[in-house]
Symmetry: D2
Subunit: 433 residues, 4 copies
């Protein structure tokens, strides 16, 4: 899955250094959280922090140590069962919605598990000759990117856990800035035509779902040059956005009614003022910041209300490829210190907030590319089997670890999901006069 | 939605003749059913027969009589509310899952409602001059195709109702033939490239979701020359098809486990023999006939087991366009007297069972075409708002009324739906040597 | 279960006459209902009319014909399965919540089933000599009382079915009278002490749950001399009865909140006026009539609001025994022509509305009497196995067939049930000065 | 609720000493549990350990400090909301099934809350003169008994939490003894007649639901002289106890089928051997020990299978009153060091295992005694509002703190509850020859 060409240039000590940095980053993310915080599963979609910490460790233990370690024995037999997420081929696994009832191993025990696997992973890598290393490099690299995905999920999940607590706990404090609302939405136009979509291979890692690179035909289109703001969302709400069926997909309207949706996921109205729960605490909604934690249904309804539509993933990727070549001054690439989307920078005729800030809903269902083939073995379950019932999101978010996102990256969630850090970029057909 | 050009050549008496034939066909389909049969709603997806008969009538009353009749008054005020299916713009509507608790109006009363609207429709059409007729022709034509859709649904729904009855009622009796299993699957290859997809306009009706015609790029592919048979499905089952997670989409595997799927929807094993419920009665499964009433998940799993995949809707449509120009000798086009899919005819190097027999699952999610715009007003709710969470099926089925299907026709159901008359045609990448 | 002494005096022709009258009464109750009306099951608690008609027939076929008929063969093998209500000992049975999906046998077919069993029952009875007749008499008599119970249920059930129909169908029309509200609640006092409870045996039928007669000790108490009226219930509502937790049992308060209870079951507010659905149609709530279709939870909350309590079943029965000896002028015994509870008559120092009108909730759980033993065999399932999770109601209601109720009769429903014709009589401790 | 006469003899220092002992006992019970263990809510019926620790503290803060402390301010405003269990009169409360999603306050923070309230409680008590103390004594005493109830629940709840963990954690280790099965069941007979039921007042605490003392009439009966053992339960299972509907209440049989009950709650079969989860670990089922963690439905079915019945609560209490006067040598009163029911001692013609070991299901619904009145104010919600849908259990269990149980004590659970430490004592009618 990782490009062998790219991987082969790394030495064992390169790998170990990257491994250590990766693993330390996970622990740093967990460090503000008490053992109790790390235990809670607040809904079926959420996993406890200590489960994330253990599961990514299980991944290395299962797909690397078990395969390549001499005299392999699992750290703890039952962890095999407890920390398998969804790999049917690896054997039975513990029920996902019950992850929160498992108090043991505790947060400290998970730390011991991590340390043990870390030692063994370093030993394993250090003991491989160049040929052997280049053979396992793709799986190690996959393990890196896998853990990065869970770093992001860890933050989305703990945000939900803390949101339910009447004490309004803060994950990470920081001074609250005031932002200037960006000016009116600008648009960037694209001619389309027969374009290349998917990861081009060559150098750099990608997941199997980004392959193969292939051609798609795009009619002319344009993309909004920034994300929709909270202020714009308040206009939608004020205009009856959540009360007027005509803007909504049928399934979305069903959710509005059954679940009483009337605002983004983490908004709450107190005495007429809308507040937003963030990892920094609960603040009045800032009209200048991007709206976030909206479902695909809401994003689609907003677009309909605005007389526009969501981009397809191919439209987004085609624009992002061009953008990667000449990035915008206002790019938020890779800065996650904020733990929250930031305001759009100055308008400069190019796409702003393309990477980072909010995962951007597309109107594309998550489906295999032409010629897609899942990897062999259990690793093949990584992506392919989820290609049903989900919508593609693009671009990363404020929780995405540095270096994790790219133009061809395909994230996916069910259309009703709201706990992910998702936002809205509009698109439009570009009828050339 | 209907092509104005096409409609304008029809005279009022043409329309009335077609109207009368259409309406009589619905009543003929309902005629074997008792008032009690017509009342039952066996699950939320199913509507009672008498509801179908009333709803299609409501459609004409709402979108034609209410708009164009002089001194319009509804036949019955509350029918407005009771027989609205899903048009939010028309006003509040009766809860779908509760259609089966409404004993009145009874089957006979619905007949009176139909007769009343029929009289008024004939008067309306007869009273229009050519200009006025050409204006309402698209809506009348839409009403025709709408009622045809419900003719098909009426059969799917009553099949489910009768299937639950331990008395094993027969909807339509007919001698049971023995069929010769077709030979091995053949394949028909296509070059792909930049092809035209969608209804070409010009003459003939289409729904808004088939528009606009647009270009898509297809890599070379091939399609199986017939549907998968019950015999082939039994091989899949014998090889653990329903027990081996590796073939299944994750959501599909979830359904296998939660709902205990172990065979197609209407199959039941008695003393080791598989029986199939049909509208003709319950018979031992015939290996020569197409497998039907399988979900998208099952179709996808079968394809994975067979080392193949399902076609995309563009692949299917491209092939069907070519096929429509030179149909196969074994085509089952428009013959619905069987009320059940028929065996594939002789192999002749071309696609068999392409139209009729079984709706064929594609791997395409039901999404808007580039440049799609829903119609204005309540009629705009016909298709667009369902473009979420569903998969496209192509080709019609044994319940489809004659003349209703075409190459660009897009049917859609949720991937777990099984009560529709759906089957499986395989596809494959065609790597040109 | 029936008293053998009593039964033995009846001749075969007595039995046949009673049988014919009973059976005709059931058909008369069903006669205003269309085949569609008779098919619907509007919720799990409700059974379709044609199911009731068939099930009571099945009871005679199963417990009498199958036992005693020469060369017995069931009318239809599968009816055995379809029309068993809950007798595990008789074999598997059709799922109760799915009674409404069975369109066949239709209402007319059920009539044929009834006629067939009627003929065979008459032949059976006529062919028995005195000794044999006295042996089967208890079971025949049980069949009579069983069918009477279903006559009452048939009315409760169809009332619910029709209530859901926006067309507001009327089961039985009759002129709507205006009633004078009764005067203030009066009270009748009882000394209590060691009293006899349960059916005294000797003459007359009783169910096994009324046995054995036994002693209970009662402290002095008093009973309200009539049922609570709609007018009094409106006072309760106006005083926040449905919004103030302090009056409610915890489970009841849970239902108020989860189900949004704010008025009796069949009340609906239109433009500020409360309307009540009855079998005669939908009318403004009449303050003079007894409140009905309230759950045990509501009855209990009303009593708490009024500073009183519900009677125990022993208190009610002790009073009813005395009352049966010298009935009140205002008794509504046995008149069910109204299909709705009637206003209390003139106050005369005695209990009014004791029999008929509304089943009266007691504060007693439905439990076995000391020394209770269920009958042998399948018939033993009649009552005993339901002695859990239900509350006792006493006195019959407007739907109870003439002659069916008595002082020792124990009806029972879950405390949240509202579709039964249940009302409220208050009780109080009587502290003797 | 506490008897004023009894309370008045205690001095402030008596109260403080008892308070300190009580509070220390709670902390001792929690001490083997990690912060993670204390956080988990494994099902809606279960509360997290740290919630129990906080809630009992909230009880003292709410009903004593808030009422009587000078310049009262809550330790933390939102704890008022978070740790209210069910007192509607105190204000809104946090949703019970979501107690497990609240990671903060953590176990350590709860300890700080406890320490703060402890200091203030001691100050409060120490500062009261004799007259003031005698006024608040009943509420303090109620707080003691309330916390004891939660000590018991804490153990029941954590037993469930740990039972779900594949690592099979042990709460408290201890050597596993082998027990000799007791001999055959003996019986102790009682004449019954008009007996006194309920707490006699005078000295000693009781809850309001034990009042008033009143007369009930009992027919002659007998009670088994010990609890049913695991060995006897295995006989029931071997005889198809969980597969034969004829033994079961209808609701119980429904649970057997819907929940797949086939053995007591904490039993699991591994390779043909039954194992039981206990707080000491998971061991093979010991036939000599009492069966425990069975529902009322199972207890009732066992009794039916054995040709016996469960006792009424009055029968149990009448026997226990006599027993308290002359206890049996084999009494297990107040010894909870075992954390599991113990084997019956030597037979001596009297009742064994009457107090402690297992809560014993009765056939009595939990209802108010004649003349019962709930206490005024929020405290009145303690018991009365739960008098619906529950069955009475008697006698305490191995988790009951020393001194907490008594003859008139009424515990109650829904008939399907299995996580409580409940067992079975049989009763029978005693027909005097």
């Amino acid at each position: 899955m990782a490009s062998p060409a790219a991987a082969s240039v790394d030495t064992a000590s390169d790998f170990i250094a990257r491994y250590d940095a990766l693993r330390a980053y996970t622990e740093a993310l967990a460090s503000p959280l008490s053992p109790e915080d790390q235990t809670v599963q607040s809904m079926a979609d959420v996993s406890p922090t200590k489960w994330h910490r253990a599961h990514v460790t299980w991944f290395f233990e299962t797909f690397l140590l078990a395969e390549h370690e001499q005299r392999f024995a699992p750290f703890q037999d039952k962890y095999w069962f407890l920390f398998n997420s969804y790999y049917e081929a690896v054997g039975p696994r513990y029920s996902r919605p019950l992850r929160g009832v498992i108090s043991r191993p505790g947060a400290h025990d998970v730390g011991r598990y991590r340390a043990n696997v870390d030692d063994r992973m370093r030993d394993l890598i250090a003991g491989l000759d160049e040929g052997a290393l280049s053979k396992v490099a793709p799986t190690i690299t996959l393990g890196f990117h896998h853990e990065q995905q869970h770093q992001e999920l860890l933050l989305m999940d703990i945000k939900h856990v803390l949101s339910l607590n009447p004490l309004e706990p803060v994950y990470a404090g920081r001074p609250r800035a005031t932002h200037t609302p960006p000016g009116p939405l600008g648009w960037v136009s694209y001619d389309g035509g027969l374009v290349e979509i998917g990861h081009p291979g060559g150098s750099g890692f990608c997941f199997d779902n980004e392959l193969p690179e292939h051609q798609e035909f795009l009619t002319p289109y344009r993309l909004a040059d920034r994300l929709i703001t909270n202020g714009e969302w308040l206009d939608f709400m004020a205009d009856g956005g959540y009360r007027r069926a005509e803007f909504w997909l049928s399934d979305g309207w069903g959710r509005v009614q059954s679940d009483g949706w009337a605002a983004p996921f983490y908004w709450q109205q107190v005495d007429g003022v809308w507040f937003e729960h963030t990892l920094h605490g609960t603040y009045p909604v800032d009209p200048a910041l991007p709206v976030c934690h909206v479902s695909h249904y809401e994003a689609d309804a907003y677009a309909a209300w605005a007389g526009k539509r969501l981009p397809t993933e191919a439209e987004w990727e085609h624009a992002a490829r061009l953008h990667e070549e000449t990035p915008c001054a206002a790019d938020n690439l890779g800065d996650t210190a904020a733990f929250h989307p930031r305001a759009a920078g100055e308008q400069d005729g190019r796409l702003r907030q393309l990477f980072g800030d909010c995962w951007e809903w597309t109107r594309s269902a998550y489906l295999p590319y032409p010629g897609f083939h899942a990897s062999e073995g259990a690793i093949g379950e990584y992506n392919g089997k989820f290609m049903s019932g989900q919508m593609v999101l693009r671009g990363g978010c404020a929780f995405t670890p540095p270096g994790h996102a790219r133009a061809s990256y395909r994230n996916f969630f069910p259309p009703g999901a709201r706990w992910a850090l998702s936002g809205v970029r509009l698109a439009d057909d570009n009828v050339v006069a």
